[in-house]
Symmetry: C2
Subunit: 101 residues, 2 copies
Amino acid sequence: MRIRTATDLGAFIRERRTKLGMDQAALAKKAGTSRKWLVEVEQGKPGAEIGLILRTLKSLEISIAVEADSPVETPSLGKAKAPDINSVLDSLKKRTVKKQI
Amino acid sequence: MRIRTATDLGAFIRERRTKLGMDQAALAKKAGTSRKWLVEVEQGKPGAEIGLILRTLKSLEISIAVEADSPVETPSLGKAKAPDINSVLDSLKKRTVKKQI
DNA sequence: CGAAATAGTAATCGAACGGTGACAGATTGT
DNA sequence: ACAATCTGTCACCGTTCGATTACTATTTCG
């Protein structure tokens, strides 16, 4: 499932939790958090800390993956957009990536 | 890329940022955060708020997906897997979605 | 060498986090 | 009806976040 907001994430966590037949208390304990925190997360709390989120997902055996949408910069697409290459070279010229090479 | 820890996430964010030729200040501004925050996130800060993380990933055109590792029960067509069905029915009997309607 | 840009760090401060414990509402089973 | 269970909410409190504003490396190029 695609996650765009904290609400998406909360909904998915809840769905998975109930599917596994766990109640909030059980999951909170397993993830090492408080039940209050879990309630708020399932409701889409945007302020929740990523560390606790990851622990919770792990407790639910949920894997999380990230992926770059566009390879580097949307090339192609109709217009003869060579400028993209130039802009990249330009930015590289200004101050090289530094880590490169 | 599979994300298991905040460090994984920070590394991926940094890699993507540099690949796009952005510096920390540019990304921080685009994501509506402070540069200091971004520095810490790239270093793997587990206390970072999920809301800001999601904004940052969006600014980098990174999509994030979650997936249940084990399917709880395979509703595959006509398989002779009765026990799973029962457990599902059991959990459903205990408490339904409730917030519906 | 020196200037410019990028990245890391420090101190401060208001705001929000997360934990605890308790309570009310809703739902289910006896 | 009653008890048991699960969920949502509340107040309190110590801790920590994130923004801001500096300052210090480090790198790169003229």
